[in-house]
């Protein structure tokens, strides 16, 4: 027992180190994600600016990802988000490794997919919130599969807790409850006491008897309430905190700078390849191709489900849900944070059902062996064609690394800043968090978290020594509040004593004063 525990923890450590090393190797090949910069930056200002503590603590989004990353920020050379990703995905991989090890041969072979799946690798190495989403999706679906079998309150509660964490990642994920409602509905038929037989027999008995029908519906609605309660209450508490903090229940929707892409969801589409636009067009279905590339494992699981109708039912729901979400807003939902629910549910389905499978035909055996290879290849196909720049960049960093002009610009601007001695900076930190996150303790700045930000924008010379501002080629130039306020001062003919000390295609660093 003790030995197996030690080997479990050791396995976790080894896999985590593996993901961490891989993330650094990818970084050396020019791979970066703005979300990891953002989390690093917010963790920095959480302790650096006491006046912004509450806002940073409660309103940084995704909250679970951010707050879990903070403790790992002790090493300055690697952002905490990379540690968290490595630990989470390392833990998941290790968990699945032990499940595979104890399982039959298909699961041992399936572990190759876990090890080489680009989705899992991306989650483990990118420093983004995908790691948390992937683990939560896996948990949610594994527990849901278990609930279809056990009908226990324990699994129902875990579903609710996982949903609560989803809501703390992003309020919009409350919609996942809709996905669970049909599952709860059908499970309620099998929970009815004293009724035996298949689904149709049960349904006919329940609907032909008043008392049974009443019990059935109260049971079903109660199960929905149990699942929805924690996410709903998480939402409610969050709204209350908003109200107390700012006087508005929906402060989090209006505030700026609390998420890595708070100015625009278009941000991921910087320098977008025009070939991708057809995927996003309203009137065609090319986006289905992207979903299909991620769905091969799930489809296989749907087909390979003898006597496991619930598993197929849930997986079909998952794919339909992903399609309907993406069709609704491709710009928002055609990314891995959303689509990885297909991957995670398929993995959960595989490990949930592997013990139930008995004799298998030759075709199935061959398919089982071919599946991991096929799935990995198709997932790489997804990454190469993704509409999200950082996902495409991930694939490119592995096979064909190239210099990213935006990253280059960030690095140069950061260097220019670091060359200045202890200065007070005015910048729009919803845009310049990558540069600001590299500064040491001798620098201070005004940002959205600061109560004096508006004053500083009107009188920069009174509040700052340096101004970091976007130029018009920067995709977020129109959102840059500092750039706008400088233009305003210009239009009012208020002249600042300023000197440009660094500039490139996207950014400008200005020194104020003589």
């Amino acid at each position: 027992m003790r030995k197996s525990k030690i080997s479990y923890w050791l396995g976790w450590l080894v896999f985590s180190i593996g993901y961490l090393v891989l993330s650094q190797w990818l970084a050396s090949r020019g791979f970066y994600t703005l979300e990891s910069f953002f989390v690093d930056y917010r963790a920095d200002i959480l302790v650096r600016f006491p006046e912004g503590f509450l806002r940073t603590f409660y309103f940084t989004s995704p909250a679970v990802f951010f707050l879990s990353s903070v403790p790992f920020n002790f090493i300055s050379s690697i952002p905490g988000s990379f540690f968290l990703n490595a630990l989470l995905i390392g833990g998941l991989t290790n968990h699945l490794f032990f499940k595979s090890w104890k399982g039959k041969y298909p699961s041992k072979f399936f572990f190759l997919y876990i090890l080489f799946s680009p989705v899992i690798l991306f989650a483990g190495t990118s420093g983004t919130s995908l790691a948390v989403y992937l683990v939560l999706y896996y948990l949610l679906f594994y527990v849901t599969f278990k609930y279809t079998e056990s009908h226990s309150v324990f699994h129902l509660t875990l579903m609710s807790l996982t949903m609560g964490l989803f809501v703390l990642m992003d309020m919009e994920y409350m919609k996942l409850i809709l996905l669970l409602v049909p599952v709860l509905f059908f499970v309620s038929f099998f929970k009815a006491k004293g009724i035996r037989g298949n689904f149709y027999t049960r349904a006919s008995v329940i609907f032909s008897n008043n008392s049974q029908r009443r019990k059935f519906f109260t049971g079903f609605f109660s199960s929905v309430l149990i699942v929805a309660f924690i996410p709903l209450m998480s939402y409610l508490i969050f709204l209350m905190i908003n109200k107390v903090f700012s006087g508005s229940y929906f402060f989090f929707e209006k505030s700026t700078g609390d998420s890595w892409n708070s100015y625009s969801v278009l941000f991921p589409l910087i320098s977008i390849n025009e070939d991708l636009w057809p995927n996003l067009a309203q009137i065609n279905s090319r986006f289905l191709g992207l979903i299909l590339l991620l769905s091969v494992t799930a489809i296989y699981q749907i087909l390979d489900s003898k006597n496991q109708a619930a598993k197929s039912f849930i997986l079909i729901l998952v794919i339909l849900f992903a399609i309907s979400e993406a069709a609704d807003n491709k710009m928002l939902y055609l990314d891995l944070n959303n689509l990885s629910l297909i991957t995670a549910s398929a993995i959960a389905a595989f490990f949930y059902s592997q013990n139930g499978l008995k004799s298998r035909s030759l075709t199935l055996k061959v398919l089982t062996l071919a599946l991991p290879v096929l799935a990995v290849l198709l997932e790489f196909g997804y990454f190469e064609n993704s509409i999200v720049q950082q996902e495409r960049h991930f694939a490119a960093s592995i096979f064909d690394p190239e210099e990213d002009p935006n990253l280059k610009s960030i690095e140069k601007a950061s260097l220019a800043l670091q060359n200045q001695n202890s200065a007070h900076i005015l910048a729009d930190d919803a845009i310049f968090y990558p540069e600001l996150s590299t500064l040491d303790k001798s620098f201070t700045w005004e940002g959205h978290f600061s109560p004096y930000y508006m004053h500083a924008l009107q009188q920069p010379e009174a509040y700052a020594d340096l101004i970091l501002v976007t130029k018009k080629d920067h995709p977020l130039h129109l959102n840059d509040i500092v750039a706008t306020s400088l233009k305003r001062l210009d239009s009012l003919k208020i002249e600042l004593p300023k000197k440009v000390i660094y500039e490139d295609e996207y950014r400008q660093l200005i020194k104020i004063g003589k």
Binding site: T218, S222, M233, L236, F245
Partner: protein
């Protein structure tokens, strides 16, 4: 009156008592196997009602002897009676007067000549005169005259054998010094650093409340993990052979509960356990005329043996149960309240489980729930609470191997181990919780069983407050007793057990005491922040709220208020949720929404907690009596 007339069993029991010949034959069989008198078996094993027996005696022309209990005195040969008290109780004979050449006794069955012969043999002389009295009167006379040694043990055994574990002393000197030192230190620090101390104090209260509730939530989750497993399978239960079952003692402590005695009889009859292997003791306080008369007047046969507790302070349930221990004959022993409806196979399940689990398990706690759950709002809320407590929290503690505070009833003991532990502490008003911890401290274990006993939920507000204040006071007593030497406790129960004890016992009363303070604080801040106060001061433009807010901001900064709101909201929601989970498991779906008003229920707990705290200081051993039999519901609602 001296009886010279001959009495015959046939005439008394068969002709006048209406017992059938086969019943008489069966009673005679049991008389031999159980070594009890014929009448005792007939009255206590469901053959003859007390009223019928009295009627039979009167019809036979017997004038019943009326005791003057105030003036009863022990006979000169009292040592014989004391050492043979069990025999006298079984034979229902009371030696009234004995001199060198004269012996006068009171007995209940004048037709039982063997009994009379045995008395003569024991006391060494012929019976010169006998009276006939009702069995209950004879029992009462025997207990209050000759049971005082047992009574003394029932009250002081824990005190004599393990003084440190006895709640007779509420606060030890060391504890008082410690509390005083903390108060003085706090006041001094507040004098020098008022802001820092106020903020720290607020933070500590919040953190402890949050930790305590989170612990309960996690415990519930952990307990729910085991909900699908059955400790004793149906197959194992089917294998139970009635002949191999041991004698099982059931203690039924009652006080002024004449209302529920009739229900009790029917509930006991439903138990699936061989009747002759049941040793059911109805523990009646000597001065409880109400219950005493109700039992005397019962017009249908019952299956319990009344046991009269001699009058003494403290008048507590543990004292009564301890007294009952000395007259118990079972290998296993359990306690039920008079109105309890246990699962009919509960005793068999327990015996099967005791056989399965290691020897160090000495107590099995069964789940409690309510049969009148839908009677009113209070019973609904009570049901929610008991459902999560017994279905999830205790199994959670069990799985974590943390000390389990036993519930009031349906705890099944190995009798010898219970005696070894010294029984219950007669000075602790939650003697059951205390016993669970004492068992754990002596390296014994307690486990739980998924079998339910339905009780009567308290349906009256003031009655509920009384009951709850006793429970919370008992938790405080238990906490103080076991924390007399925290290091010793830590060594005995280990780190896990120690923290489990802190959160589960200490945390329980702590949360109820702190809850209204934090609630008031939040309401106060809400009134100030929303400007409601300004609305009340409508005649002035001056912002009263703002002014107060500014002046207290130093002590209650915004971040602290937000933490307090978060903490309080999450804490309440967690408790609402565990309530929901528990009734969902029991499929009492219509109760789920009532969980939403759990915060109100907690306020009621807080009222009780403060009442308990005051009583802990003023009347630590006072037993707040819970009235039973108030329900109008008689049948279990849907379980």
């Amino acid at each position: 009156m001296m009886h010279t007339k001959e009495y015959y069993r046939k005439s008394l029991f068969q002709e006048k008592g209406n017992l059938r010949a086969d019943q008489i034959e069966r009673i005679e069989f049991l008389e031999k196997s159980l070594q009890k008198s014929f009448l005792k078996i007939a009255l206590n094993y469901g053959y003859l009602s007390r009223r019928a027996w009295k009627k039979a005696l009167i019809e036979e022309g017997v004038e019943l002897y009326q005791f003057n209990f105030e003036s009863l005195e022990a006979i000169s040969n009292q040592e014989v009676v004391k050492t043979q008290l069990h025999w006298f109780l079984d034979c229902l004979v009371f030696p009234l007067k004995q001199t060198d050449d004269y012996l006068e006794v009171v007995l209940s069955d004048p037709s039982d000549s063997i009994n009379i012969n045995n008395v003569e043999e024991l006391l060494g002389q012929k019976v010169d005169k006998f009276h006939v009295a009702e069995d209950l009167d004879v029992l009462k006379a025997l207990h209050i005259t000759y049971g005082l040694d047992y009574l003394d043990k029932a009250i002081f055994r824990i005190y004599d054998s393990d003084r440190e574990s006895c709640a007779i002393e509420t606060f030890t000197k060391k504890q008082l010094i410690f509390i005083g030192a903390i108060l003085i230190l706090g006041a001094s620090l507040f004098y020098f650093f008022p802001v820092g101390v106020a903020i720290t104090f607020n933070l500590i209260l919040n953190a402890l409340l949050f930790l305590s509730i989170s612990f309960k939530f996690l415990l519930t989750l952990y307990g729910s993990r085991m909900e699908t497993s059955r400790k004793v399978s149906k197959a194992e239960l089917d294998k139970v052979n009635d002949d191999e079952l041991p004698i099982y003692t059931i203690l039924l402590p009652v006080f002024k509960e004449s209302e529920v005695i009739h229900k009790l009889v029917w509930n006991l009859r439903n138990l699936d356990y061989p009747l002759e292997k049941l040793d059911v003791k109805l523990l009646i306080e000597a001065d409880d005329a109400m219950t005493y008369n109700a039992v005397k007047d019962m017009n249908f046969p019952c299956i319990f043996e009344p046991l009269i507790i001699p009058p003494a302070q403290p008048k507590t349930k543990p004292k009564a149960c301890n007294y009952g221990l000395y007259f118990s004959k079972g290998k296993y022993l359990t306690i039920y309240d008079a109105e309890d409806i246990p699962d009919n196979n509960q005793l068999k399940l327990v015996t099967s489980l005791f056989k399965k689990i290691p020897d160090d398990y000495v107590v099995i706690q069964c789940a409690l729930n309510y049969f009148n759950k839908k009677e009113n709002l209070l019973t609904r809320l009570f049901t929610l609470e008991y459902s999560y407590w017994f279905d999830y929290m205790l199994p959670g503690l069990d799985n974590l191997d943390v000390p389990i505070p036993l519930g009031g009833t349906s705890n099944h003991f190995k009798f010898d181990k219970l005696m070894e532990l010294g029984g219950w502490d007669g000075f602790n008003v939650t003697e059951d919780a205390d016993l669970g911890l004492r068992a754990y401290a002596k390296s014994y274990k307690v486990t739980v069983l998924d079998s339910t006993t339905l009780e009567e939920a308290n349906n009256d507000f003031f009655n509920w407050i009384r009951q709850r204040s006793r429970w919370i006071k008992g938790y405080m007593q238990t906490y103080l007793v076991h924390m007399r030497n925290p290091i010793k406790l830590l060594q005995k129960v280990g780190v896990k057990g120690f923290f489990g004890f802190q959160f589960f016992i200490g945390g329980t009363f702590f949360t109820f005491l702190v809850y209204p303070i934090l609630l008031l604080f939040l309401i106060f801040m809400l009134i100030l922040n929303t400007g409601l106060l300004d609305f009340l001061f409508f005649w002035t433009d001056y912002s009263v709220s703002q002014n107060i807010l500014e002046s207290i901001q130093l002590f209650f900064p915004d971040w602290l208020v937000i933490i307090a709101i978060f903490n309080f909201s999450v804490g309440n929601l967690m408790m609402i949720y565990v309530n929901m989970m528990a009734v969902f498991r029991r499929r009492s779906y219509t109760l789920i929404l009532y969980a939403l008003i759990n915060p109100l229920y907690w306020l009621m707990h807080s009222i009780s907690a403060y009442k308990g705290l005051i009583q802990l200081i003023t009347k630590p051993f006072y037993w707040e009596k819970t009235n039973h039999g108030l329900t109008k519901s008689s049948k279990p609602s849907s379980i």
